[in-house]
Symmetry: D2
Subunit: 287 residues, 4 copies
Amino acid sequence: METNLCKNPAKVGFPIPSKVSRTTKPETTLVNVSGVMVGGSDIVIIAGPCVVESQEQLFETARAVKAGGARILRGGAFKPRSSPYNFQGLGEEGLKLLSSVRKEIHLPVVTEVMDTRQVELVASYADMIQIGSRNMQNFPLLKEAGLCGKPVLLKRGMMSTIEEFLLAAEYILNQGNDQVILCERGIRTFETSTRNTLDLSAVPMLKRLSHLPVIVDPSHGTGLRWMVPAMAKAAVAAGADGLIIEVHYKPEEALCDGHQSLNLDEFTRMMTDLEKIAQAVGREISL
Amino acid sequence: METNLCKNPAKVGFPIPSKVSRTTKPETTLVNVSGVMVGGSDIVIIAGPCVVESQEQLFETARAVKAGGARILRGGAFKPRSSPYNFQGLGEEGLKLLSSVRKEIHLPVVTEVMDTRQVELVASYADMIQIGSRNMQNFPLLKEAGLCGKPVLLKRGMMSTIEEFLLAAEYILNQGNDQVILCERGIRTFETSTRNTLDLSAVPMLKRLSHLPVIVDPSHGTGLRWMVPAMAKAAVAAGADGLIIEVHYKPEEALCDGHQSLNLDEFTRMMTDLEKIAQAVGREISL
Amino acid sequence: METNLCKNPAKVGFPIPSKVSRTTKPETTLVNVSGVMVGGSDIVIIAGPCVVESQEQLFETARAVKAGGARILRGGAFKPRSSPYNFQGLGEEGLKLLSSVRKEIHLPVVTEVMDTRQVELVASYADMIQIGSRNMQNFPLLKEAGLCGKPVLLKRGMMSTIEEFLLAAEYILNQGNDQVILCERGIRTFETSTRNTLDLSAVPMLKRLSHLPVIVDPSHGTGLRWMVPAMAKAAVAAGADGLIIEVHYKPEEALCDGHQSLNLDEFTRMMTDLEKIAQAVGREISL
Amino acid sequence: METNLCKNPAKVGFPIPSKVSRTTKPETTLVNVSGVMVGGSDIVIIAGPCVVESQEQLFETARAVKAGGARILRGGAFKPRSSPYNFQGLGEEGLKLLSSVRKEIHLPVVTEVMDTRQVELVASYADMIQIGSRNMQNFPLLKEAGLCGKPVLLKRGMMSTIEEFLLAAEYILNQGNDQVILCERGIRTFETSTRNTLDLSAVPMLKRLSHLPVIVDPSHGTGLRWMVPAMAKAAVAAGADGLIIEVHYKPEEALCDGHQSLNLDEFTRMMTDLEKIAQAVGREISL
């Protein structure tokens, strides 16, 4: 697919911004997350808890997801919460826990940044910074991410078109940083049986239009633990370069989003299934 | 997944109608389309043109899709078109062509019915009748379909929730006909780069809530020929029991939806890829 | 506004079908519902119960809405219900009740038809037939409506674009019947605090593009009784030619949609407020 | 309506955050924008250009909108733009122009802030700061707005629910600032004939649930200049406490959103019409 570029880009009805466009750069960009390469033939799995809660929680979860085949650890220190009365994350204390577990377990970490004033701080602890859905069009934040010297995991806004998503990435590349991973995480529709509607057609679309790697978040995309493995398999079959999965060592005690987090056994079983799908599409997952 | 029923059905926020519910009937229903069984371990591919145009077009396409592994032929005789000035299909003449090609090629056929007054006619020619998206809540038509004595392929309305989809199927079962296949075909969202947004999470959701087989239409779901194979693979990985694909022997000359129809070579190549995905999820496609 | 036609119709990005287009016919069409003219300077209020339940219910409600200023009576005999287990209406018995109350109260009636086989029957009892949201793209039904010899109230599909709405009306006009009223009744969006999202911008849009009269249904558009008066006023201010309102003499006992039905006092009070808005936009409501 | 509080708040299916809730504070909050009171019987019109371009443009537009009845001047200095290659506003230079025109014309000004690092700067020039749609869930920015000492105009996210909108306002009130105006500005739906779908039902809903004043932005809500007056009238009829309107002295030369900006004559004519609607709902616009 990647050599078969759209001859008539008007088929998607909008111009592709130049720095993210595959027309400008035909080969897929490899994003280097402290040695883990995203965008190559390996499918990269990012896993971990929604939010960093404690040394024990993070350490136990990290050890298990690494054993199961995850290559990057996720965990939130600064959490965007709809309500001011919900747990907002541990802040810098959470960053420190991520940093200490990373050293012990030898897994690069990705964590979210929400405020331009904290980009430097977060980038000093993390191997990759994440810009979440609600900030996909926080343009000052995108510009800072472009200057932070670390790879950026950019999540699609839940209300954002493919065109706007590519333009948001262009803001980052336009500051000189091409180490950007695009993440489909579900869009908002009229359907309410799932938390969001995971738009897997975004995977082949983004891969066709842009040279940036594309991953999928089936945890937020569905909001339902039991559905995560099916959609993870579908994402890899659709051509995703990786996945980001919420895993918790005790989901029923999680401070945030426990209902969509896999437990350690579920994660391990899913990885075995994913390996087969990866092979079926000519790729690998190193378990 | 199918033995792991939702203990708390409130997780989806609505009651499951009793006749379609997997709680009522735990094993998946096998739908028998003149000998082709849908809902078992075989992934069943339905393929053919959007609309029946001529003896040659239908025959050439049917022969090729059968050779490529399709088990059921699709083709529209009565076409729902947004504009009264678009080609509306050949009507009964189209049904006769379907019937003659079916005999020659030995493929069961599915075709759409739009009018309660034509259910008997269409059912007399077709092996399975299709109720299209725009008629998913045409309740008199659903009732007639429940009485027609043939299997029914029910497509999800482009604006319909999972709950409404199951209730529409319940209308058919409530008339005594349990030979119903559910088809996800894309929902309408704010995203415009694809024709619709293919909601693949509907596959595991419907499989969990209902005993009816579930197939996917990636042709209408994306509206983009080049994207059909990627989404077909994703659908099978997500657990679909089959696919319905638009194929035309000369897509550039098609009277309807040529831009989303595969040509014969593209179909054959896609089938080879699908076979691998089917095996990776423990199922088969008999090529 | 009506003399100020869009010079560049491409501003709405689609062609306007010729028979409904205001370019073809600059003056607004007057729809004559047994003597009540819709589309002129009078704002016409259609009111009545969601569904005909009994002689008493229909008679009491009809008498009160007429006294309050309604000019046409609404009431469902054949009801489209999402579930096969919900009350489906009284059928022809309901039509007979409508007919008898109409004679006694001297109010023309509008009622829904869902099945091509029943158009003739419904048209023989009603002064205007209604095609509901779920049937907006039931093309055989639209064609029959075009031949039935009565005015047609066409409701916008809950997920239909303005373009599709106009094309659906074109199906009716294309059969020789230009007595069509367009009705905005709320579209389906992500917002769940209201039953649907009433798209009042459809009013000036449809009035600009088409010569057909446009009315609004704030009862289905909001699903909330207390919100109906505010949105009714807004609809008239936006330029609507009329309203269709659910009113029930005992909403708490209604068999269908009681939560969105006004009681008789609420209806009367709303009408007084509407009269002021009508005057503020240079129109009248004859109370 | 304001004394008729929802007895069963579950009718909207979510809890109302306490500080914004009308249950907590039954009377509508008056927001004082340098002497202009929003939330009382006067309908307050905010008008001005999308973006500050020059001394002449701002001065000419400001003078005219004041003469036409506007009470507050709008104008962007920092502009959120989907593309990094679009004009991003004049920045602090724009703030200085706003400040100088304000002194000369004696109109309070509102302007947008996008970055936590600039809240203090913007608040030092503006009478009210605006948080735009794309930042409605920029939680650090909401917190800073709660501490800035100026009133806040909070626009609804284009795909945010009423619940999320109220929670975003709660973030501001939770910092001790209750001077918050809520602004409906159109949500994103499947409909493409308008730029967004103006959700006027949000007006009575927000007024019922919260004590904060509610205004409407028909310029962004429709994206079509000719439609702005109709929707402005509808907004006032629905109960809005004010409007924010894009006006430009030469719309055809505007650097941003000229197609949705009224010219000076159109603005003046609209105001005359609005005065009548205001009176019809028992309120005033001081022209």
